[in-house]
C-alpha cells in the first residue's frame, strides 16, 4: 500500500501542476514585470493633495516639494482679479468723490468762524498721524507699482529705469513698513477710548452724518465716520502689516501656499485701504471747511467743533474752556470775511 502511494503521489502532483499551468493565462512579458503598477503616479498624487512632496538629500529641505501647480490660481489672481478689484475700488472711490464734490461741494462752516479755537489733537497725536500717513503714501505708491507698474509705467520709462525705480520702491516698501506698523499700533492705543461704537453713532448715521443735507447730528470726539476710518486703519493696517511680514520673511511662518494666501490678503486689503484713505484725505482737506486744522495746527475753531462734535465740545468746555487766552489773528481775520 505504501509503495503504491509512493508511486501515485508524485504522479498526482505532476498532473495537478500541469493543470494549474494550463489553466493560468499565459502572461505577456510586459505584465510579468511592471514596476509602474505599484509605483507613485503623478496625476494621482496631484489629485490627492495638489502638490507632490518627497525627500531630497541636499541641505535645503524646502526643495523637497517637487510640484505645486497652485501658483496658477495665484497668477490668475495677481494678474487679473487684483487689477480689477484695485482698479474698481480706487477709481470708483475717486469717481464718487469727484461727483460728491461737484454736487455737494465743500461742507462749509455754517455759523462762520468764531475766532476762538480749541485743541483737538496734541503734538504727539499729530506726529503719530503724520508719520503713519507719510509711510502709508510711500507704501501705497510702491505697492501699487508692483501691481500696476508693469502695464502702466514700464512702457513709458523703459525697462532699466523702471527696474531701478522698482528696486528703490521695494526697499522703501520693506523698510517703511516698520514705522508704519509702529504708527498703527500707536493709533490703536491712543484713540481707542474715543472709538468704541455707541448709540450716538446710530443717530449720526441715520441723519446722514451731515454729509447728506445740511444737518449736524451730535457727535463725541469721533463721529461714526471717523470711527469707521479708525477701525479701517487698525484692522486693515494690522492685516497688511502681518501679511507683509510673512512675505518679507519667507518660510519663517509659512510655505509657498501660505505666502500666496498672504499676498492675496495683503494686496486686497491694501487696495481697499487706499480707496478708504482717498475718502479720508478728501474730507480732511477740500471736503470740509476747518477740518484740516485739526491735524495741521492741532486747534480747531470752536464753531467747527460745535457743528461737527457738539458733545465733545460741551465736554471740553466743561473741563477747560475754550482756548481764547491767546490772540487768534488768522482765525479772527477769516471770521471777519
Amino acid at each position: 500500500m505504501s509503495s503504491f502511494a509512493r508511486f501515485i503521489r508524485p504522479a498526482i502532483g505532476a498532473w495537478a501542476l500541469l493543470l494549474l499551468i494550463m489553466a493560468a493565462p499565459v502572461p505577456s512579458p510586459a505584465q510579468q514585470i511592471n514596476p509602474t503598477a505599484s509605483s507613485v503616479n503623478e496625476q494621482k498624487l496631484l489629485q490627492e493633495m495638489d502638490r507632490i512632496q518627497g525627500r531630497v538629500s541636499i541641505p535645503d529641505q524646502r526643495s523637497g516639494v517637487l510640484m505645486q501647480p497652485a501658483g496658477r490660481e495665484w497668477r490668475e489672481f495677481r494678474n487679473v482679479a487684483l487689477r480689477w478689484i484695485g482698479g474698481v475700488a480706487m477709481l470708483g472711490m475717486l469717481a464718487v468723490l469727484v461727483i460728491f464734490y461737484l454736487t455737494r461741494g465743500m461742507v462749509r462752516l455754517e455759523s462762520g468762524r468764531s475766532g476762538r479755537t480749541i485743541v483737538r489733537f496734541n503734538t504727539f497725536e499729530r506726529f503719530v498721524h503724520w508719520m503713519t500717513a507719510t509711510c502709508f503714501i510711500i507704501l501705497a505708491i510702491s505697492g501699487l507699482n508692483i501691481t500696476f507698474g508693469r502695464p502702466l509705467l514700464l512702457p513709458l520709462i523703459g525697462f532699466d529705469a523702471f527696474s531701478e525705480w522698482s528696486q528703490w520702491a521695494k526697499f522703501a516698501h520693506n523698510y517703511l513698513s516698520f514705522p508704519f506698523t509702529i504708527g498703527v499700533v500707536l493709533i490703536f492705543l491712543m484713540w481707542i477710548a474715543g472709538n468704541i461704537p455707541s448709540k450716538v453713532d446710530l443717530e449720526w448715521i441715520k441723519r446722514g452724518g451731515g454729509l447728506i443735507g445740511h444737518d449736524h447730528p451730535p457727535a463725541r470726539r469721533f463721529n461714526a465716520g471717523q470711527k469707521g476710518i479708525y477701525w479701517i486703519v487698525v484692522i486693515g493696517g494690522g492685516l497688511v502689516a502681518a501679511t507683509g511680514y510673512v512675505l518679507m520673511f519667507p518660510f519663517y511662518v509659512t510655505g509657498i501656499e501660505g505666502m500666496q494666501m498672504a499676498q492675496i490678503v495683503h494686496s486686497v486689503v491694501a487696495v481697499l485701504f487706499i480707496a478708504a484713505m482717498l475718502a479720508h484725505i478728501y474730507i480732511g482737506t477740500i471736503g470740509m471747511e476747518g477740518a484740516f486744522e485739526a491735524m495741521g495746527s492741532g486747534e480747531v475753531d470752536v464753531n467747527w467743533a460745535r457743528e461737527h462734535h457738539s458733545l465733545w465740545l460741551d465736554q471740553e468746555m466743561a473741563r477747560t474752556g475754550p482756548n481764547d487766552s491767546q490772540p487768534q489773528p488768522r482765525h479772527a481775520a477769516s471770521a471777519a470775511e
Binding site: 514596476p35 538629500s57 523637497g64 517637487l66 501647480p69 514700464l154 527696474s163 521695494k170 500666496q260
Partner: protein, 198 residues
Amino acid sequence: MARMKFLCDADRCIECNACVTACKNEHEVPWGINRRRVVTIADGKPGERSVSMACMHCTDAPCAAVCPVNCFYTTADGVVLHSKDLCIGCGYCFYACPFGAPQYPKVGNFGSRGKMDKCTYCAGGPEADGSKEEYEKYGANRLAEGKLPLCAEMCSTKSLLAGDGEIIAQIYKERVLKRGYGSGAWGWKTAYRETIES
C-alpha cells in the same frame, strides 16, 4: 526651431544626484542654491520613484507672467531666461512657479533677497554669449556652443533627457513601448500642458 524641454524618466532615475553636482560645478552656482535637485517620492516604500527637477522652461511661463518688472524672456528655442540686472528680488516668480525653480541668495534679510537665480538650460543670459559677465551672472552657455544641458548629457542611466521636445518625447515613447511600462513624463502637464501618451 527646436522647442527645448526636459524629461525625467522616473523609471530610470537611480537618485545618484550626478545631475545636481554637474550643474553646480558647471555654473559655479552659489552656496545654498540648487538649480536642479532630485526628489524621491514614497522614499523607502514600494513604488518609490526619484525625479530630477529643475526649471522646466514652461510654455506660457508663470514666472514671466507675474514678474512686476518683466525681467523674463523666452528664447527662440523656448528656453525661459531672465535678466539679473532687471530683477528686483521681490519673490513673485517664486510664488507662481509650480516647480520651485526660482531661488534667492539672501533669503529673509529684510526682504533684500538679492537677484533671483534659476536653471538657464545651460543657455546663459542676456549678455553676449560666452562672455565673462554672462558666466559670472548665469553660468556657462553650453547651448551657444551647440551642446545640450550638462545635467542631461552626463546622466548615467539616461533618465534625464534634454533637447527638442518632440525628439525626447519620441525617445521616451519608444522606451515605454519596448519595456512595456512608464510612469509618465513628470511635470509635462503642468509645464507644457501636454502628456506623452504611451
